[in-house]
Point group: C2
């Protein structure tokens, strides 16, 4: 390799800068070179947390982010006047201490999600109103579905206790559970169509999928993962606000955390640097973008599996890892939001939580800033509904969603200050959300490759987490784990 | 864009050569530029057929192949003395007229697969021998499984008649069928474990998967596709030799066809040119490799969906297409082969077809050259077995497979001239085989994006075929269809 001493355009980085010819690239392509102990690929919460841990361990780090912004699935929309509203990751709740503690370390407190008054649901066209202080929590107390709902949730929770969060493919009944879809299991364990119609109302917001897309084993793992080392996971914790994963929000939005972590990294974080290639050699690893070639001792890949699979690895990864990334697509979730002068639904006695078995929007929440002004409400459009929504014109999207909001809380909902949507599958550097999905067969075939390091390559991202997989807490946990892995090798 | 007039290193191509700065790439990266009416990405049978059709339509074409060889899933191993044996696509059969006619056009005839004598099967440890001239064909006439086998195959064939090969997601019961795995359906439609153990023996060679990995709708589509416009598809045609998809082979191997088609293209076929980016603009399309930037009016992407998804498209493809490629992984198939001085099993009265419910090898075939010397036998190791095989040492792989061959035909099988394997999932430019797999939910969610052109981008590859999807005939059909699509637009 011809060594040059020309100075990198990006200035001195964590470990100094030098430039040279990048072997393996086009002979005509000169890339700036950089060095660091560890390269982190992806500046979502997982990558930012990994970088923080590595730096605290005394090692140098360079974070390469493909997008124009840090944050990954954490991203905000400016409401004006300095207020913002989350387009992606929004809520935290009990047992999600890793992300809550991390935010605390940056001076960011939580506040309770607005949850006073009544929830509203449309179930097969029938309107139901209830307070979630009742025994069903966020689930509607519809007498025609409650017995089956309670029985199936209890049974799934029980079954999930047999699924180890660190190796769901080793559950005693892993083959049986991974051989079927959630839809099949629900068909076998329920009798009323009214209840069955309710199930996608959970899977669309939680997974961005229909029940047919989900391996039963993956669902059981997800339930088991919805807790921590001291609290057993429950399905309810996924969909409840009170005592559930929607209980709290961060002051200044989740983006505040990302911004502070990114600021702390300073020039160690490079945006618009999609990683194209990772080359492992005897002495280290080389991470290549369109413009840079970074030499490091280790690399942490902290992007969703479907995107990690698009990087050109040399030598090739074990085929189980590659085939994992061929199958584990990101969910199909679109978030629709509207802002109003005030959160008018509160005055009418509503929480802002609306559920519907027939609408585009399966579930809504109050997403207003802490002081309630402006009022923001947002809804999740997932799975088949997200694909159907995609086929509408821009004008239809707005009018159809606002009409659904109005059905919940009255005509005022049709006169927002602003309407916006966030189509996560159409984001180049996300390609879906909220999480990577294991369909039937995926976990037993290739689950063991999710987190197993390959030489000098380590994996982070919420999809690799044992607890709170798919949530911000899982992302933070994965970053902490990856940093520990790397530091143990340096 | 700065235009230079420096001559391309690759010499004059179909439409002349010029060089320039490729916008969008690193400022330092100068790429040679080329022009053609149509770029074809991938020189497997689909891409080669598309290129042939486009040239016959009077348009210029440039084929960019990532690997060092043309052929895709058609590839051969040299036996010495000018003889070769197929590592990938091997057989053709009745109703596969598109690939047979194409081969004829290049002077390549078929010959019958060796099929005299007895097949052997080990079913839960019991040895069965039979001639496939009997009523069960290649399926073992085990009295304990025959009733269930006959009943389920008949039922699947009947159900498949309701599945349109050009839009399986529009079948009347598409949601019901795509909501479950083949494993679930078999559980619900059989009673004996002995029969259920037989099912992977079909899915491993045919799909490279376990029954849990397959959407029932995909299996029904695959059956419907195993015929042609005049002959209804049947499941038997997939696994039978006599009157089935293993009935004939090509003289000189399937690679002979690829070689002749590649030779005809001459310098219009460029090897070792992985396509990294496809940019659509108002006036045309730009197809970018590490070294080249090719301007064209249209592009045919003729690589498996999982690999097509790794190309950087600008603007982004519709998200349904991207998410299709996130979920539709290639099957997990390894082919193991051994050569001998003579096909000794023939002298002992065996066809060379061996089946086993417990071995690494689910099914073997006689793969000897037409004159029978040297003798070659090969076996399919698929799904869980392929992953288990991957964990063995090289020495163990050889000894375990040869011991299984010896169990079928005697100790002579353990003394081959040569043993070799082809681990398709570990091939950089294949990443699996024999075909891309739709798990539960994939076809109804994103099936419509399989073949729908996106602007100037057209899709080919056996995964896009209506008939003989997953086979060489499907690849040829897809290439013919893509050429017609493109020519209609030029």
């Amino acid at each position: 390799m011809t060594k040059l001493t020309r100075r990198g355009v990006l200035g001195a980085g964590a470990a100094g800068a030098a430039a040279g010819l990048a072997p393996g690239a086009s002979a005509a392509a000169r890339k700036r070179t950089r060095r660091a102990d560890v390269v982190v690929v992806g500046a979502g919460l997982a990558g930012l947390t990994a970088a923080r841990g590595i730096r605290r361990g005394g090692k140098s780090v360079l974070v390469l982010e493909a997008a124009r912004r840090a944050g990954g699935r954490v991203w905000s929309h400016a409401l004006g006047g300095g207020e913002v509203s989350e387009r992606g990751g929004t809520f935290v709740g009990p047992t999600q201490d890793h992300v809550i503690d991390l935010a605390q370390a940056y001076g960011i407190d939580t506040f309770p999600t607005y949850n006073e008054g009544s929830n509203v649901a449309y179930i097969d066209g029938d309107r139901v109103e209830w307070s979630d202080t009742g025994p069903t929590g966020t689930a509607p107390p519809d007498p025609a579905i409650l017995p089956e709902l309670a029985a199936t949730v209890t049974l799934l929770n029980e079954m999930s206790k047999e699924v180890p969060v660190d190796a769901p493919w080793q559950a005693e009944q892993a083959l049986e559970y991974d051989g079927q879809t959630l839809e099949t299991w629900v068909e076998d364990n329920s009798t009323t169509q009214r209840y069955r119609n309710l199930v996608p109302l959970a899977t669309r917001p939680i997974f961005g999928t229909e029940p047919r897309d989900l391996s039963l084993l993956f669902v059981l793992f997800y339930i088991a993962a919805s807790g921590d080392e001291e609290h057993v996971g429950t399905f309810e914790r996924n969909f409840n606000t009170r005592e559930g994963a929607q209980m709290f929000r961060f002051e200044g939005s989740t983006s505040a955390l990302v911004e502070r972590m990114a600021r702390e990294l300073g020039r160690r974080l490079l945006l618009r640097q999609p990683v194209r290639r990772i080359v492992q050699g005897r002495g280290g690893v080389r991470v290549v973008t369109d413009k840079l070639s970074v030499r490091a001792k280790r690399v942490v890949v902290a992007v969703p599996p479907a995107l990690a699979g698009r990087i050109d690895y040399r030598p090739l990864l074990p085929f189980e890892r590659d085939q994992l990334t061929q199958r584990m697509g990101q969910g199909t979730l679109t978030k629709v939001s509207a802002s109003y002068e005030t959160p008018f639904w509160r005055d009418a006695g509503y929480t802002g939580t609306g559920l519907s078995t027939s609408g585009f929007v399966s579930a809504t929440f109050d997403g207003s800033p802490p002081d309630g002004g402006p009022g923001v409400v947002f809804g999740f459009v997932g799975g088949d509904k997200a694909r159907e929504y995609e086929r509408l014109s821009k004008g239809e999207r707005r009018s159809r969603i606002l009409a659904e909001f109005a059905q919940f809380w009255g005509a005022e909902a049709e006169r927002p200050l602003e309407f916006w949507d966030t189509r996560w599958p159409a984001q180049r550097w996300n390609r879906g959300g909220p999480v990577g999905i294991h369909g039937a067969g995926s976990l037993v075939a290739n689950g063991a490759a999710l987190r197993a390091p390959v030489g000098r390559i380590h994996w982070a991202g919420t999809e690799t987490s044992t607890y709170w997989n798919g949530y911000m807490d899982g992302a933070v946990r994965s970053g902490e784990r990856a940093a520990e892995e790397v530091l143990a090798e340096l």
